[in-house]
Symmetry: C2
Subunit: 381 residues, 2 copies
C-alpha cells in the first residue's frame, strides 16, 4: 500500500521545485536584524501578511491568477498592532496598501489632489492638514523607533519562501512571536516545471508554436489552448499552515483568516480549519460584511462575534450591510441588540473593525505568553 | 452548411449576456459632456486605455485572472498627449497608475516619505519640492482646463462596455478622435452564465457543495474542482477591435498594442494584427525591453523602430537591456548605430520612450486628419 507523502517530504519537494525569489537573501538579512533587536528587549513581534498572492501562468508573466485583496485588513491591522506596542513585520503584496499611506492611496482621488502650490512650494492643503499630520506623526514614530519592517511578495512561491524564512527567524522570540496571516493566499498554483516560458498565444494562427516554447520537464503545461479555448489546470498548494504550526513556529501564536462568500459556510469552515491545523485562532469573515463583522473561532473562547456598532460603520460600496448577522445563525441576535441602533447618538466617528480585533488578539496573546511561562516554570520545578 | 455568426451577432450576444457595470450610466454622462465640450472647439480627443482587465472566476469574486500591467505605458502616454494639446479620456484599471501621480505611487516608498512636519504643518521635503512642483503644475493645468477625464474599469466586461459606449460618443469628433489602446486586455474570459456564485472550495471535504451553488444556466461552470485540481476553461473574447474599426469609430485613428515575450514573434504578430483589423497603427513591444524600444507597424510607414538612446535609458529591474534589438532582425543594426553609445555624453537625463512615441503618433494623426478633409472636399466638389 502506498502511503501519502509526509508533510516534510511535501515541504521539501515544494521548495526544491519552486525556486526562491531573488530578494529573499536581502529580506532575510533585514528581518534577522529587526527580529534580533526586538527580541533583545523582550518586545512582542507580529508578522502581518497582507494582500493577494499571484499564480503566474507563464515564466515571462503576461497572465496570472490573483486573489482579491486590496490589503486593507493587513495595512489597517498593522497600525493597530503598532499602537498595542508590537514591532511589525509587514509582508505584503507589492503595491497593495501600506500602513499609514493607505489613508491616501487606492483612492478614487490622486494624492496630488491633497496638495497645493503656496509661494512656489508644494504644501498639503488646509482641509487635509490635521488628518495628515496625525498620520505622518504615527508613521514617523514607527520609523524612528524601527518598529515597522516592510517586505513584499508577488507570487505564491515568493510568499511561501518569505513566510517560511521569516517564521524560522522568529523562533528565538518564543511565545512572544505572533503570526497574523491576513494575506489572501492561493489554494491552487502552477508548479514551476509546468509553466510555459512565453505568453500563451490566442490566435489559432499562432497557437502551434505553443508546443515549442513549452517547459523542459516533459510534463504537460498547466495552461494551454485547446481549440479556441484556454484550459488551465492547477494543482493544490500544499497546506503549509500545518508546517507553520508544527515546525516553523512551534511556540508562536498563530492567527489565520477564513474568507467566504456563502454565509452558511463561514463558521463551519472556520471550525474545520481550527481543528485541522490546531493553531490558536481563526478569524472568519464574509466578503460582503468584512468591514463590519468578523467571527473569532478559537479553543480558548469558542465562537465569538465582533461587530462595529451600526452607527459607527464605515460605508463600503462593495459590501451589503443587511448581510451582517447572516452567518451567525442563532448567535446573530444576542451579539447585536436591536436597540443599539436606537440608543446610540448619530454622527459619531467611524470605527474601523481592526481597532476592535487587534486589542482582542493582544489580550489572547498575553494569556498565551503567561501560560507558556507557567509551563516553563512547572517544567523547571 | 452552418455559417459562423456575423460580427454584429457576436457583438449583440456578448453585450446581452454580459451585463454592463453599474457605473456605466454616470461615466457616459461625464464622457458625453467632456467630448462635446472639446468637439465644439475642434480639439483633438484621445481615449487612452491603460492597465490590465480581470476575468473573475466567481460572481462574488475571490479569484480572478489578471493581465500583467501596472499602467505605466498608459499613464505616461496620457501626460505626453496632454503636452501635445490633446484632451485625454483616461480609461484605466482601478488603482493602476494615473498620469502625474504615477511619479509618486507604485513605488517602494510610501508617499509619506516625501513629507515632513514643519511648524506643525505637513509640507513636502526640500529634496522633492522642485520635481513635485513641476508635476503639480502640469496636473493642475490639465484639471483647470478640463482636459483630463479619468474613468475606470476592473473586469474585461466593464472595459468592453466602457470602450464601446465612449467610442460611440466620440463619433462626432470625426477624424479628430484618436484611440490609443494600451490596456492589457484579456483574450479569454468566463461568460456570465458560466460563472459560479460563490468562492470555489478547495478542501475536498467541502467541494461537494460546489454543485449546488453553481450558475442557473445549466451550463458547466468554467471553473471547477476535479479531484484535488482546479480546472478552468475559458472562452475566447470576441475580437472587438474589428468592431471598433468598422462600427464604433469608423472615422477615428486607431492605435493598438501588441505585447509579446518571444522576440521572434513580435513583428510577425504586429503585422498580422494590422492586416486582420485594417486599422492605422500597431505598436509592438516586448515585455523585457518595453521601456527602451517599440516597433511601429503601419500601412503609412511600414516597420519603424523607436528606441531610447542607450545612455538615456531608464533603469528597469524587470527588463533585460541586452535584448534590445533582438526582435528587429535585419533592422536592428541600422536602427541603432553602435557608435551612438560612444559619442553620447553620459549622465544626461532619462528619456521616457513615451516622449518619443506620442509626437510620432500626433504627426501621423495630423496627416490622417488632413487626408480626411481632402477626401471630404473631393466628395463635395
Amino acid at each position: 500500500m502506498e502511503h501519502p507523502p509526509t508533510a516534510e517530504a511535501t515541504e521539501s519537494h515544494y521548495f526544491i521545485n519552486n525556486p526562491p525569489p531573488k530578494s529573499l537573501k536581502s529580506n532575510v538579512t533585514l528581518a534577522r536584524e529587526f527580529i534580533d533587536r526586538h527580541a533583545e528587549i523582550g518586545r512582542r513581534v507580529v508578522l502581518v501578511t497582507s494582500g493577494g498572492t499571484t499564480v503566474p501562468l507563464e515564466t515571462q508573466t503576461v497572465r496570472y491568477i490573483d486573489n482579491f485583496s486590496a490589503g486593507t485588513r493587513g495595512a489597517t491591522s498593522a497600525e493597530y498592532f503598532l499602537q498595542e506596542g508590537y514591532a511589525v513585520i509587514f509582508l505584503h503584496r507589492q503595491f497593495s496598501l501600506l500602513p499609514y499611506s493607505r489613508h491616501y492611496s487606492h483612492n478614487t482621488r490622486s494624492f496630488l489632489d491633497f496638495m497645493k502650490e503656496e509661494n512656489g512650494r508644494v504644501v498639503v492643503d488646509e482641509q487635509h492638514q490635521e488628518e495628515m499630520l496625525r498620520v505622518l506623526r504615527q508613521y514617523t514614530e514607527a520609523k524612528r523607533e524601527n518598529k515597522l519592517l516592510i517586505l513584499s511578495f508577488v507570487t505564491i512561491t515568493e510568499y511561501l519562501w518569505e513566510l517560511r524564512e521569516v517564521a524560522k527567524l522568529m523562533q528565538p522570540l518564543g511565545p512572544k512571536a505572533l503570526f497574523y496571516l491576513a494575506a489572501a493566499v492561493s489554494d491552487f498554483f502552477v508548479p514551476h516545471d509546468r509553466m510555459v516560458e512565453h505568453k500563451i498565444q490566442s490566435s489559432e494562427e499562432f497557437s502551434q508554436t505553443n508546443g515549442n516554447n513549452g517547459n523542459s520537464s516533459g510534463k504537460p503545461p498547466a495552461a494551454r489552448t485547446e481549440g479556441r479555448s484556454l484550459v488551465i489546470d492547477l494543482e493544490p498548494v500544499p497546506k503549509f499552515l500545518k508546517q507553520l504550526v508544527d515546525g516553523w513556529a512551534p511556540e508562536g501564536m498563530i492567527v489565520s483568516f477564513k474568507l467566504e462568500t456563502d454565509p452558511s459556510m463561514l463558521v463551519r469552515k472556520a471550525q474545520y480549519s481550527l481543528e485541522k491545523y490546531a493553531h490558536h485562532l481563526v478569524i472568519g469573515n464574509l466578503l460582503m460584511t468584512r468591514k463590519w463583522e468578523v467571527v473569532f473561532v478559537s479553543t480558548m473562547e469558542g465562537e465569538k462575534w465582533i461587530r462595529v456598532p451600526r452607527n459607527r460603520r464605515t460605508k463600503s460600496i462593495s459590501g451589503i450591510e443587511s448581510w451582517v448577522g447572516r452567518a451567525a445563525g442563532a448567535n446573530a441576535d444576542s451579539a447585536e441588540p436591536a436597540r443599539a441602533e436606537l440608543s446610540s447618538p448619530q454622527g459619531e466617528p467611524i470605527v474601523e473593525i481592526e481597532s476592535l480585533i487587534i486589542p482582542e488578539i493582544s489580550e489572547m496573546h498575553t494569556k498565551l505568553i503567561a501560560q507558556a511561562q507557567e509551563d516553563k516554570t512547572l517544567q523547571k520545578s
